[in-house]
């Protein structure tokens, strides 16, 4: 016979205390709420109703549902839940199933073991929720969820203390006891957790995963036909945030290249022979600038051209663009360093490729031929085109539709459009003139946040321009600057305030409001700054880790890293152990403890004022009154209140009065 075997099983089968069950219910509700947004509506409603029912049963003592009903509910809900999550991603489906299962488990929960199952599933859901939202709000919400979860565990494993002098007060303090204990645990755990967060090596995914679909995300697309970027112009979503290790790049130079298009079929510019030239090698020090990219459909990253070195694993292309190893399903942080001065070269094959011209657009060809016949040099042709733009063209976000020979139509008839139209037409015409040309898609400008020193690039900053091979190097030509220099100078936001297409998707846009309220603008910048730091130091810590640790500790070897972990952990644990086990003087009640503290405080000024062991509180107070006559009023008020509170411990009013008088006294001391 195994000793105590039956006893342990008994403890598992005992119904946990009511308070513990309430905490557990609360914890489950907290874990579920964020997922309610991800779940099909009917499931949210069903689990909401179930949870309300569980809550009512706990508080009102409703009868338990019949067993058959429970089994039926479980089967129906799990089956339909499984079916309805099939069209979602694996992980979301899993989380939803866990949430539903936990809700059902609460319905028929009886034993401590059941409670543990629910608590552990909640742990997992709290962590998994961060795959769907990583905002600061989500972060704070998670902390609250963890505290409540721990509180439910504390409640499950505490006994109600009986025989307290003041039962009402004891019950009151007991209600919040689990949360206080949980908070304390979390607080004490914080240094260790922070340390682990700092030094735990961030390794790549163990296996590849798909997280949700990328549909609905905005961003540059892999090809460009005039008219497409305008969708981006309607979006003020964040695209990139850039911080510089030194001085930020000058405003006119903020051309963020994402991709170059080398092939044109008369309608659409495409990326053709884009082959990864090399993988960037890891950089020893942080680059010139760091970019935090928001999730996007493509894997193209922005860079100030051309790139020299950057975060390890990035793909570098011959045209100086960079690409992430995979599409950006999550926020992605990388460092880059720009090339200062290099010899560029263009192979014969590439030279030919950058001169390819589709058939059509006879009027443009005729114009170029005419210019060539006049003996214009390459740079003169560029100038001539830009001059045309300047004199005859207008910038608009809602241009007329183009058909047929689009460049001809744009250049000779409609004469209105935005960056894509200008870039597209310029690119083709320069090629016709025998200048190797490519169209560049990317972003222009950005909003500088002075608080956190970073540049915020939104989707509406999307831009297209042209690079031409002249004098043995690629030169940037921005035709849009010719027609609407203010677009380049002030950003699209200022230029297009009155344009109907601009930000049409957000009628109540905060940017519109801000034009009227300056304070709002500042608040927004402050919030963005905070949010940026959150992204940079918490969500994007991976890319900081190496540099940070190196900065602090120099080169890490094996011994050092082990010491780095063990030493602080030991110190923290020793300190907490000491704090928990330290000898504490025992006081029968709060009032004597307060008096002792008071005595400590006044005796620091005058050792004679310490309370002697044979003095009653009243005698002591009178002695203090004589020694400190200026305090006599508050002192006597305090001792009277203390006397009243001591003689009737059950009265809350007396205790409150006493606490007030104590605060008054402390302020005067």
């Amino acid at each position: 016979m195994s000793l105590f075997a039956h006893q342990r099983s008994e403890s598992k089968s005992a119904l946990p205390a009511l308070s513990a069950r309430r905490w557990l219910l609360f914890s489950t509700v907290l874990c579920m709420l964020p997922q309610a947004l991800n779940m099909p509506v009917w499931m949210s409603v069903v689990s909401g109703v179930l949870l309300v029912y569980v809550g009512l049963r706990l508080n009102r003592g409703l009868a338990e549902p019949p067993r058959l009903l429970k089994v039926l509910a479980v089967l129906v809900i799990l089956a339909t839940a499984a079916l309805s999550v099939l069209d979602r991603s694996m992980l979301l489906g899993l989380v939803i199933l866990l949430v539903m299962a936990n809700t059902l488990k609460l319905l028929e929960f009886r034993t401590l073991r059941d409670a543990w199952v629910i608590a552990l599933v909640n742990c997992f859901i709290i962590a998994a929720a961060y795959l769907f939202s990583t905002s600061m709000l989500a972060g704070a919400y998670g902390v609250v969820s963890i505290i409540v979860l721990l509180a439910s565990l504390v409640a499950l494993h505490s006994e109600v203390q009986s025989g307290a002098i003041n039962e009402v007060a004891a019950a009151q303090s007991l209600r919040w006891q689990p949360v206080k204990t949980a908070g304390l645990l979390l607080l004490q755990a914080l240094p260790l957790a922070a340390l682990m967060f700092l030094v735990f090596p961030r390794i790549g995914p163990l296996w590849s995963l798909e997280l949700g679909s990328t549909a609905g995300r905005t961003g540059l697309s892999d090809s460009m036909a005039p008219g497409e970027i305008s969708n981006l112009l309607r979006s003020d979503e964040m695209a990139f945030r850039v911080s510089f290790s030194g001085e930020p790049v000058a405003e006119p130079e903020r051309y963020w290249r994402a991709m170059t298009f080398d092939s044109f079929d008369g309608q659409r510019w495409r990326i053709d022979a884009a082959q990864s030239q090399s993988q960037l090698s890891g950089i020893s020090s942080s680059g010139d600038y760091q970019v935090i990219a928001e999730p996007a459909t493509s894997s193209w990253l922005i860079a100030l051209t051309p790139v020299r070195t950057g975060t390890q694993g990035l793909k570098l292309f011959a045209d100086g663009t960079v690409r992430a190893p995979e599409p950006l399903q999550q926020r992605f942080t990388y460092n880059l360093a720009s090339e200062v001065d290099t010899k560029e070269s263009l192979s014969k094959e590439a030279y030919r490729r950058y001169l390819q011209v589709p058939a059509g657009n006879p009027r443009a060809r005729a114009l170029i031929d005419q210019w060539l016949a006049q003996g214009l040099t390459k740079s003169q042709i560029v100038k001539a085109i830009l001059q045309q733009y300047q004199q005859r063209f207008s910038y608009t976000l809602s241009p007329a539709r183009l058909q047929g020979d689009r460049v001809d139509e744009f250049f000779f008839s409609t004469r209105e459009g935005f960056c894509e139209h200008f870039a597209s037409a310029t690119g083709l015409m320069l090629r016709m003139a025998g200048i190797p040309t490519r169209v560049v898609g990317g972003y222009l400008g950005g909003e500088w946040n002075p608080y956190s020193q970073y540049l915020l690039i939104r989707q509406y900053d999307a831009h297209a321009w042209v690079e031409a091979w002249m004098d043995g190097r690629w030169q940037r030509i921005d035709p849009t600057a010719a027609v609407a220099p203010e677009r380049v100078r002030d950003g699209v936001e200022n230029l297009l305030q009155q344009s109907p297409g601009y930000l049409a998707n957000q009628p109540l846009n905060i940017l519109n409001l801000e034009r009227q309220f300056a304070l709002l603008a500042e608040l927004r910048l402050r919030y963005q700054s905070l949010n940026y730091n959150w992204h940079r130091w918490v969500l994007g810590y991976d890319s900081q880790q190496e540099d940070l640790l190196q900065d602090w500790l120099g080169n890490l070897n094996y011994l050092k890293s082990v010491l780095l972990i063990l030493l602080p952990v030991t110190v923290v644990l020793l300190f907490i152990g000491w704090w928990l086990l330290r000898a504490r003087p025992l006081y029968r009640d709060q009032i004597s403890l307060d008096t002792e503290r008071l005595s400590d405080r006044v005796s620091r000024q005058d050792p004679n004022l310490a309370r002697s062991s044979d003095e009653t509180l009243q005698q002591y107070s009178q002695r203090l009154c004589q020694a400190l006559p200026e305090l006599s009023e508050v002192l006597s008020g305090w001792s009277d209140a203390a006397g009243k509170a001591q003689y009737d411990v059950s009265s809350n009013a007396n205790m409150k009065h006493y606490k007030r008088s104590l605060r008054k006294l402390r302020r005067r001391l």
Binding site: I126, Y130, L153, H157, E159, L190, L573
Partner: protein, 333 residues
């Protein structure tokens, strides 16, 4: 029936034997680091397992907030080791008094727990075969826990090793100790009414007195009195109580000068039967306020009456040899 133990079971038993043998037994034990053992519970291991899953999640999705949750929960696990230890550390356990019971009743082994200068939010005591009991104690306070287990045999019953445990605050860690405190309780024999009237004691016969009889003539029923504290339970008129007439006790006329003997030498039946029947008879005499003596193979008690005498008689009966062997040979005691 042979029972097979799992490896964990055997390890646990070996561990317990070793732990109990490590410290001397006494009336009192203070739980210090010398005697406190600490290990994760199964729930604690499950918690670590879930934490590992969260870590995998964080690694695979490269999600720093999931990392943060993982490290937070992991650190809480570490911290809770200290909290669990601190809960048990410094607690003093003392054995309490134990009231004798009859075989078939529940023995209550009581223990007094004194908290050190911090609150003990949950502490559980258990002894072999008894239900475990948990309690919370205020800082510097004390609590008495009584563990009940059925009395199976007359004689002294040792509580055996005391198991002291806490899982506070989170149930992830179990801190426990084994104390071999001396807590024994006297178990009186089970009272059994004899089928035949008790035999006359030879000694009584010599004294030519009618002895050992329990005919109703000798303890004539006189009437009902109001119950007073201290009256024997067996004299309560239960039927009257049940019919709603309040707590009454039957009173009997006592014939002065009459002495009864419970004599094992003349009592028929096997040894244990004898002892049970003599116990019943002793209780009967006490209830009737008779004077009675005990002859039990050398351990003789002169006729007397009263609570003290009854206790002495019952103790003699409980401790009479043969209790351990439980043999039914029926030889003279």
């Amino acid at each position: 029936m042979a029972r097979r133990f799992s490896l964990a079971d055997r390890l646990a038993r070996r561990m317990r034997r070793w732990a109990i043998a490590r410290h001397e037994s006494g009336q009192k034990i203070e739980l210090t680091q010398r005697v406190i053992y600490i290990f994760p519970t199964w729930a604690g291991f499950a918690y670590l397992g879930v934490n590992l899953l969260i870590l995998l999640l964080a690694i695979n999705y490269q999600n720093n907030l999931a990392y943060a949750v993982c490290f937070m929960l992991g650190a809480v696990f570490l911290i809770s080791i200290l909290h669990t230890y601190a809960t048990l550390s410094g607690v003093v356990v003392e054995t309490g008094r134990c009231e004798p019971v009859f075989v078939g009743e529940d023995i209550g082994f009581s223990y007094q727990l004194k908290a050190a200068d911090r609150q003990v939010n949950q502490i559980t005591l258990a002894i072999h075969d008894a239900d475990l009991r948990s309690v919370a104690i205020a800082a510097g306070g004390s609590a008495i826990l009584t563990l009940y287990r059925p009395a199976l045999q007359r004689g002294w019953d040792e509580a055996g090793a005391l198991y002291i445990e806490t899982r506070y605050p989170l149930g992830l860690i179990r801190a426990w100790s084994w104390a071999s405190l001396q807590n024994k309780c006297l178990v009186y024999p089970k009272p059994v009414q004899a089928k035949r009237p008790p035999p006359l004691s030879p000694a009584a016969a010599e004294g030519s007195r009618p002895v050992g009889s329990r005919q109703s003539g000798t303890d004539a029923f006189q009437g009902l009195d109001d119950y007073q504290v201290g009256d024997s339970l067996s004299r309560i008129a239960w039927k009257k109580l049940a019919s709603g007439q309040g707590l009454k006790v039957r009173s009997y006329t006592t014939e002065q000068g009459q002495e009864y003997w419970l004599d094992a030498n003349v009592w028929p039946g096997s040894r244990e039967v004898k002892i049970s029947e003599m116990t019943w008879q002793a209780l009967q005499y006490h209830a009737q306020d008779q004077t009675y003596g005990l002859r039990l193979g050398g351990a003789d008690l002169a006729p007397a009456k009263g609570r003290g005498h009854l206790d002495a008689v019952l103790k003699q009966l409980a401790l009479s040899p043969g209790a351990a062997s439980q043999s039914e040979d029926g030889g003279p005691l």
